[in-house]
């Protein structure tokens, strides 16, 4: 490529490059700098070294919000993965009108988060909610999904299934890439459905699973809108107070932008660590065609 071509290429890419530099790189670097300052937005930042980070590690609410978030990740990611794979397998069968079913299962992911939160307030309402009405019909005493601190987090984990349509589509694409010859070979060996799933399907889509799990971890670590709408202030008693809610409150309610920036970088470090662990654990379980 000659210089002229390179210049033209850069020129065409420049809107994206400018956007990346202004809206991503600059805030990223700025937040790192702010995390080392006492910054209330309304006054210029003042350098305080690592004080925000030190304070963070002595902050009880930081630990509460972090443990709530990690519990959510531990519940929501596996549950969504299982449901998304299950749905993708069902939607990979040869049934008439399949494109309609696929659309139907994907549609929920298009619902805005705030609308989703409001909708589920009605579904999970302890008194007149749809879910508990169904439980009462079969004479089962349901829990108070929203008001009981023990159940509130599990409610959110259940709600996370609603958004698994995106992962489902990726799994579906992965499933369609599995060579039919492998299933035929398994059939010749007399393998039943579960054996084929365990020994053919899962290993063959394992890179897709890894990708979705990592994306799921990153997304779940940043859960914000739904609990913010459904459980203001992390009620009851901070049982649904998540990391990003605390970060938001510090930044915009308590005007502690420096502290919130430090929280952002700690979240980044935790997410990187979890992602690395997931990648390391995947070494023996993920099969790539190239291997």
């Amino acid at each position: 490529m000659n210089k002229r071509d390179a210049r033209i290429g850069i020129l065409f890419a420049s809107p994206w490059i400018l956007g990346f530099l202004i809206f991503l790189t600059y805030p990223l670097i700025a937040s790192l700098v702010y995390s080392l300052t006492n910054f209330s937005i309304l006054r210029p930042p003042k350098y305080i070294g690592f004080q925000n980070y030190r304070e963070l590690f002595h902050d009880q609410v930081f630990y509460t919000s972090l443990s709530n978030t990690l519990l959510y990740v531990a519940g929501a990611v596996p549950l969504s993965t299982i449901v998304a794979i299950g749905l993708a397998m069902l939607l990979n069968t040869k049934v008439k009108g399949m494109s309609i079913y696929r659309t139907m299962f994907f549609l929920p992911t298009l619902v805005p988060m705030v609308a989703l939160g409001t909708l589920f307030l009605w579904v999970f309402n302890g008194d007149y909610g749809l879910l508990n009405a169904a439980f009462h019909k079969v004479n089962v005493t349901p829990p108070n999904w929203l008001g009981d601190p023990t159940w509130a987090k599990w409610t959110l984990i259940l709600i996370s299934i609603w958004g698994c349509g995106q992962a489902m589509v990726i799994y579906l694409a992965g499933l369609q890439d599995v060579p039919v010859s492998l299933y035929e070979a398994a059939d010749l060996d007399g393998a039943k459905a579960w054996a084929k799933t365990k020994s053919v399907t899962i290993p063959m889509i394992s890179p897709v699973i890894l990708f979705n799990v990592i994306m799921g971890i990153i997304g779940a670590m940043q859960i914000f809108a739904v609990p913010y709408v459904m459980f203001p202030g992390g009620a009851p008693a901070r049982s649904t107070y998540f990391y990003t809610s605390y970060l938001y409150d510090n930044a915009f309610q308590y005007q502690r932008m420096g502290y919130a920036s430090a929280m952002g970088w700690v979240l980044f470090a935790i997410t990187i660590t979890l992602t690395t662990i997931a990648l390391k654990l995947s070494d023996k379980h993920v099969h790539y065609e190239a291997n």
């Binding site: 006492n38 937005i41 309610q253």
Partner: protein, 439 residues
Amino acid sequence: MTLPNILGVTAAAIVLAGAAVLGDKVVSRQTRTDRVTVIYWEKWTGDEAKEMRKVVDAFNRSQDRIVVQYLSISGVDTKTMLATAGGNPPDVAGIWLENLYEFSDANALTDLKPMADAAGLDASYYIKNYYDPLTYNGGLWALPSTPASIALHVRPDLVPKEYSTPETFPKTIEGLDRMVDKISKKKDNGDLIMAGFLPSNPGWWNWAWGPYFGGSLFDGKNLTLDSKENVRAFDWVRTYAKRFGAKEVQSFQSGFGTFASPQDPFMEGKVATEMNGVWKANYIRVYKKGLPWFAVPFPYPEDRKDLEGHSNLSQDVLTIPRGAKHPKEAFEFIKFVQRQDVMEGLCQGHGKNSPLAKVSEHFFNTHQNTYIRLFDQLARSPKAFNPPAIGILPQVRDELNVAFQEVSTEQKKPDQALHDAQQRMDTLWATYKDQVLNR
């Protein structure tokens, strides 16, 4: 230099020059050249916004020099803060009293005292309990838009006949508790059908329970969340978890509709009494016209008769953010709102009492709230109280909400919950003093 380079540099120069020339126009909100445009951001929506718009229209008609542009926005506190930091704030911001101290500490507001004193809007013009909290660190940071006082609302049809008038209703908290035991209804399985009273409904002023028992939250230097009066108040809150069952209350309350709906628990008869503001009458009129109710001051502890007539106060306020383009014109508008006839019209429209020391008989006689005189008396009561004037008020409020929930759900005992809240707030207060006040 090649031709493409020259063209590129020229294009960049044109863009930069255009930005320099038009930049101010792009961020300016000045819409007319014949009048100064005052930008006014306010939190209200719906009917409350309509009432304020009437005031704005009246002001715009009353003179030919200034035009106020009214914008109803959500999250007005956060947006005002960010706009102020960005150097392009509104000229008038309608925020909550609770925001005032942190904004003031951050030097984000204009001191209105010189302009207010010159306009005759001094302390004597207002009810003391409403004016005093607007002054802080020697400055006057806001003037009222609409205020409120809080009282116990009672459904006479749901309480025993002997308690069914304001005069005969129990005056003490112990009397209220006895009445609650008498009238609350449960199913055989313990599920609540009707509660005589619930401290957690509507749950908007959990910080105020301590002061209702004679406690305070701030002594001017230190926070006192775990004082013995505050612990006593939370002990009383706990008796309700014991009386009805924590899980039963949670389940019962999860079926409550919002206050601005016919499913409001007070209107539906799920609770016989409820702490609420002067505005409640407006909602009853809209959603359950004809509902029998009356209001009384919240009862006092039997051994603290000196607290009789107490009420927690709140108010919406008008401020001029630092860096506002037209502070003098903005104050002209604020001054207009403070005019007795304008203020009374606005407060009537919002179903609230007036913050002004002088109130016309016409206001009382035509107000939609039958008990407006009571709310006015409560606002003037020497026992009425405001949230503490402290920059970390949002954190104090949140921490007491958590302590309240921990006690209500029986996760912690009152002394433990308040001790934990105190410890956390002590750390935050020390940091705040270091990072904001002593900066």
